[in-house]
Symmetry: C2
């Protein structure tokens, strides 16, 4: 069984992996906030457990087994976030830190029960998909708001970044998942986007913001 530390490395590996399932050791070190030698020794440990393939001076390759372990931890994380929001009244900006701890709990029934109580949700409070109990993730492809054009009407579906600061920024503008946005115009100079929604007749979103918003085209 993976230790909490190993689970965290696998999660990072999972998130950093490209199409070839490769991750550079230094990216992992940055992500995990540890030194390169620490990662070097940890990847050797992870390899012994069959969760990745390691060859000197090569990027590591996460194995299907490693991906499954990671996906199941991510499942627990996202179920927890959804439970905290839907059943315990937390705001979407408050749940990451708590879920980061709860995700390491070994108690299948606990998470099954959460899942059941929520009616088997498929996305978490930030629009990210919840892997199923087998560790499979249903990838949904959304549009980036920054790629949309004036005149389009879209619905806010997910975020590519869920930092507390960004979530609080969105809270301050009453932007939440499901909010329908009309794109009024797009500034050619800085790519900022003018939108209207709810009782906000016009709000400007910088590219820095719009590129973090994933949307679904309406009609």
């Amino acid at each position: 069984m993976a230790s909490q530390t190993e689970e965290n490395y696998l999660k990072s590996l999972f998130n950093l992996a490209n199409e070839k399932n490769e991750v550079n050791i230094s990216e992992l070190a940055t992500q995990m906030q540890v030194s390169l030698p620490t990662v070097n020794s940890m990847v050797k440990t992870l390899q012994k457990n069959g969760w990745l393939i390691y060859e000197k001076y090569k990027p590591v390759i996460i194995t299907p087994e490693g991906k499954k372990v990671a996906a199941l931890v991510i499942r627990k994380h996202r179920l927890t976030e959804m439970f905290l929001v839907n059943k315990m009244g937390f705001g979407w900006e408050e749940v990451h830190e708590i879920a980061e701890q709860v995700e390491h709990i070994h108690a299948p029934k606990f998470f099954e029960r959460m899942d059941e109580m929520m009616g088997f949700p498929t996305i978490d409070p930030h629009g990210s998909p919840i892997p199923d109990a087998q560790g499979r993730i249903q990838e949904i492809k959304y549009l980036n708001l920054s790629d949309c054009k004036a005149g389009q009407v879209v619905k806010l579906a997910a975020l590519t970044n869920s930092s507390t600061e960004f979530l609080e920024f969105l809270n301050g503008r009453n932007l939440r998942l499901g909010t329908e946005l009309s794109i009024l115009s797009k500034e050619a100079y800085d790519q900022s986007i003018l939108i209207s929604y709810l009782n906000h007749s016009s709000e400007t979103l910088s590219e820095k913001v719009s590129e973090k918003l994933l949307v679904k085209l309406l009609d």
Copy 2:
């Protein structure tokens, strides 16, 4: 901040402490299921943190600070158990293992929210008191069923042992907290007790069982 391991030692210390707050190192070793040298080195660590007083060859003495840390972990454990039973539909025999993990989560709001959702319960699913947010425990003194006499009518209020096996034994006899028991007779030879309750016109409880049941005298 106490590590998970330290929290577990402090919990055991708290539970083993006598009126003088003293605990023998070997009792602690038995309770924690580790060797004596391990405890020996750990008590030195705990002393450095001010959670106990250690002198060679003397029982350790838990300090008020140590007791508070322990009580706050116990608070999280018991709130979690109650939440699992009352809000998530678990049986009282299923919650200990999960709470043993959840108790180490550092997220005050998470436990405050549980507390609030349950209306600030004062006891856990096994009748044990829940320490308050300052780590104070309101001790309630119950009678031991094994000390009761024929003719008395009592209400099951708490357990002195909450092992899964014992809880399953009680489940099998429909015995739960709040059940009113009439003591029909007591066998002088083996101290077994004959009781009636609900639709059970007569059940015998061995001393091994009755001494683990805490009751409140009715009238």
